[in-house]
């Protein structure tokens, strides 16, 4: 795909969002059903939004990605998230699973299932797995405690959001005696699910604690080095997707805010005339422009894709995007706090993206260690 082509396709995605998604998610009072989310994901796929995987040769993933493909994918994800983050999350999650299977040379049996999910990192923050950080830094060190905590194994619990209960899990596994990384597939009988009833954000999706209770049914046919490369690629791509969704959420907040501040009158003039409001609008615009530029910058050089670069962006951008979304909520006054206006949900969704798959503190520690070892 060329840059011009990507730009043109992005306008189609924008139209798709306006025509199909905005109206659907306008009623913020009600949580949209998972069925609707699945439908939206299917439609988005029809529009052509898919994680770039063309041009790859086996696992030679560092040289063949097209930058325009990545720009199109990430900005499309942002566009979808600006209407509804859960749809973008589900789309991204499914795309990642498919990519892993394709890059790893395909899978048989359960790997061909309808709704696989990749558990590249589990779920419990500093207490357990949240970020599979330090993997490439610690793999060769005598640090088995950490490795046990960062890689799911039998009995591990992993928190995951999904619209459709996964029918198979694709999990990186680390064999301690051999110090080898591999990718394993668990079918539906090999894991159990406990739903978390109330979570902070992504209301439309189920949040489940997935526990690995059985044995894997298959190991993907790739060796240690390729498994490691695939793992690094997954971390990078997953994080970039989260950044794109976060940008999209703020774009959605900005659209709502600009509309509201133009309509809401105080003292005979719209409140957008007030410096206090203009400062908030400026903060949101600044965060949007920065995030877009950073994301594009990284997408333009996919050969430099690395977990470090993606995580560094996440650690810096997500808190700024969350603050900007809070400023947008504040512009609504009391209405921002009510579910009807959708602003409070945007703030919650953004917070969720900030904390899952690596909190800012975890990332800083990871980057420090990674840099020192390098």
């Amino acid at each position: 795909m060329h840059q011009n082509e990507a730009e043109e396709m992005l306008t189609h995605v924008e139209k798709f969002r306006m025509r199909h998604l905005d109206a659907l998610f306008a009623q913020s009072e009600q949580v949209v059903s998972q069925e609707t989310i699945r439908l939206c994901v299917a439609r988005a796929t029809e529009v052509g939004i898919a994680m770039p995987n063309t041009g790859y040769k086996g696992l030679d993933i560092n040289n063949n990605a097209g930058e325009a493909d990545w720009i199109f994918y990430l900005l499309s994800l942002a566009e979808i998230a600006s209407a509804n983050a859960a749809t973008a999350f589900e789309l991204h999650s499914r795309s990642l699973a498919r990519l892993v299977l394709e890059l790893a040379g395909g899978a048989k049996g359960p790997g061909k299932a309808a709704s696989p999910v990749v558990l590249i990192a589990g779920g419990n923050g500093l207490a357990r797995l949240s970020l599979a950080r330090l993997v490439h830094a610690r793999l060769d060190r005598e640090d088995d405690h950490f490795l046990r905590d960062y890689f799911p194994e039998r009995g591990s619990e992993i928190v995951h959001y999904y619209a459709e209960r996964p029918d198979c899990l694709i999990v990186p596994a680390f064999s301690l005696p051999a110090r080898q990384l591999s990718w394993q597939i668990y079918d539906a009988t090999a894991f159990t699910e406990t739903r978390i009833i109330l979570t902070h954000g992504l209301d439309e999706l189920d949040c489940g604690i997935l526990s690995l209770s059985g044995e894997p049914v298959q190991t993907l046919p790739v060796g240690h080095e390729d498994s490691l490369a695939l793992f690094r690629h997954c971390l990078t791509v997953n994080t970039l997707g989260l950044l794109a969704m976060a940008l999209g959420l703020l774009m959605g907040a900005q659209r709502r805010m600009l509309r509201y501040t133009a309509e809401r009158q105080q003292g005979g003039a719209p409140i957008k005339e007030h410096a206090a409001i203009r400062l908030m609008e400026g903060q949101v615009e600044s965060a949007c422009v920065t995030a877009r530029a950073a994301l594009k910058g990284l997408a333009l050089s996919p050969q430099n894709f690395s977990p470090d670069a993606a995580y560094a962006l996440k650690a810096n951008l997500l808190p700024a995007l969350c603050q900007a979304a809070n400023a947008a909520l504040q512009a609504f006054g009391g209405y921002g706090y009510m579910r009807d206006y959708g602003m409070e949900k945007i703030v919650r969704d953004l917070n969720t993206l900030k904390l899952c798959f690596g909190t800012p503190t975890e990332i800083l520690l990871y980057l420090s260690e990674s840099r020192r070892i390098a």
């Binding site: 923050g125 902070h200 003292g267 409070e344």
Partner: protein
């Protein structure tokens, strides 16, 4: 590491090392064996100590166990039980001292808003929503108390206090906000240009009120509402406070809002259609509503700071508990330096909030610049604390079961109600305008 070397290292920890010192030294060094909360409380005069302890005991017994339930679902039966216990405990009648109410006998030692701040921190450290439900009653009573009309105290406040102490609950609410005009009635510039929609028309023997109010805390359970309306054909400068009772013809409850947090307390729409109130239901005098409103807000903004403090403390305590209970790589989370740094930051921030509140609320008059500064600083800081608590817990922080998530949602409202923080910041300048101008002239 041997047992003896562990012991010698422990001796370097201040609290442990001090155990070996004489009692007098321990006292002088401030390391008497006690919790930080106890040390803070012990510094108060007797009646205030007693008040703080009673607030804590009530909050931990009646609010904390139901916090998550009341956040998740509307349970009016449970709500009524909690209100009844609060009433019998004197927490719904402490705006006036005995014999007019159940206010602490130490009311002459510290100002009213100091007591409110103590109470709101303790209640909201258990649950921001339930704390607000109880605290909003105090806000509803404030215009009656601060009007300075002793007759109004006897007519309205005293019977409500007595009823609440018996467990027969009568709640008051405060109604100023009109649809799409929240900030207009919280800020001088906004008010100067605002044309109030809620109107009071003269009728024989009283006033007929027509209009709507929104976001009224506790509006759905209120027996009495202090509602502000402009007189017919006049502007905001005619704003007057009227007391409207539940059951008066034309007074109805509109929708209850779906809120991000503090969900145990409702935010209701109140509808008034030709509600006739007698003349003696005017609170604080005709056309004095704007001044009365400002006075009430100056008194209530410091307790809002205390609400934020309570919520932040709740998040901090949840994080502390989590760090003590969970392990990573064979070590307790609380043993990791990065976790200790986060916990220490949370402690520092909550201590700073408390110091500011206690210092500002110690002055007998509640001035706008001080009240607003407390409200802005504490609400912003509470958000920082809650964010840190959630981050410390990682993905666990996203689950409602771990309290920090709820604390975050609860804290967010403190940046909005009683005037957004932006309105309050401008209020600080407004109140200090003459002094600032004097600098400019120099």
């Amino acid at each position: 590491m041997s047992a003896s070397s562990t012991a010698s290292i422990d001796r370097y920890e201040p609290a442990i090392a001090m155990r070996h010192m004489r009692e007098l030294t321990r006292f002088l060094a401030g390391y008497a064996p006690s919790t930080i909360w106890e040390v803070d409380t012990a510094a108060f005069p007797g009646p205030l100590q007693q008040y703080r302890r009673s607030c804590r005991i009530f909050a931990q017994s009646w609010l904390k166990p139901y916090a998550l339930t009341m956040d998740a679902i509307k349970n009016s039966a449970l709500r009524d039980v909690i209100l009844r216990e609060a009433g019998k405990g004197g927490f719904l009648s402490d705006m006036l001292p005995w014999p007019l109410g159940a206010g602490s006998p130490g009311v002459f030692l510290k100002p009213l808003h100091f007591f409110s701040a103590i109470k709101m921190e303790e209640l909201c450290a258990a649950c921001g929503g339930l704390g607000l439900m109880i605290g909003a009653h105090g806000l509803g009573m404030a215009p009656i108390v601060l009007s300075g009309e002793v007759a109004a105290w006897w007519r309205f406040a005293v019977p409500m206090n007595q009823s609440n102490l018996r467990g027969d609950i009568r709640i008051a609410a405060y109604a100023i906000t009109e649809p799409a005009a929240g900030s207009d009635v919280e800020d001088t510039d906004g008010a100067r240009l605002y044309r109030p929609k809620m109107r009071a028309r003269r009728v024989p023997g009283g006033w007929s009120l027509t209009g709507r109010k929104v976001f009224i805390s506790g509006g759905d359970i209120a027996d009495s509402v202090c509602v502000f309306a402009a007189l017919e054909d006049e502007g905001m400068d005619s704003w007057t406070c009227f007391l409207v009772r539940k059951g008066m013809p034309g007074f109805a409850l509109g929708r209850n809002e779906l809120k991000m947090g503090q969900r145990a307390s409702s935010a209701s729409e109140l509808v008034f259609e030709d509600v006739v109130v007698p003349d003696n239901h005017v609170i604080g005098g005709l056309r004095n509503g704007w001044s009365l409103n400002r006075t009430v807000l100056n008194y209530s903004r410091m307790p809002v700071g205390a609400i934020a403090l309570g919520i932040a403390r709740n998040a901090f305590e949840a994080a502390l508990e989590f760090a003590a209970a969970h392990s990573l790589a064979g070590r307790k989370l609380a043993d990791y330096q990065e976790i200790q740094l986060m916990l220490a930051r949370m402690f520092t921030l909550t201590s700073a909030m408390r110091s500011m509140i206690w210092d500002s609320a110690s002055t007998w008059t509640a001035r706008q610049y001080k009240a607003s500064a407390v409200k802005v600083f504490c609400s912003d800081t509470a958000m920082q604390v809650c964010e840190l608590a959630m981050e410390l817990m990682g993905n666990h922080g996203l689950s409602a079961a771990h309290t920090a998530e709820k604390a975050y949602r609860d804290a967010r409202l403190t940046q909005i109600y009683e005037g957004t923080n932006q309105i309050n910041l401008l209020g600080i300048i407004e109140d200090q305008h003459e002094e600032i101008m004097a600098y400019a002239r120099e």
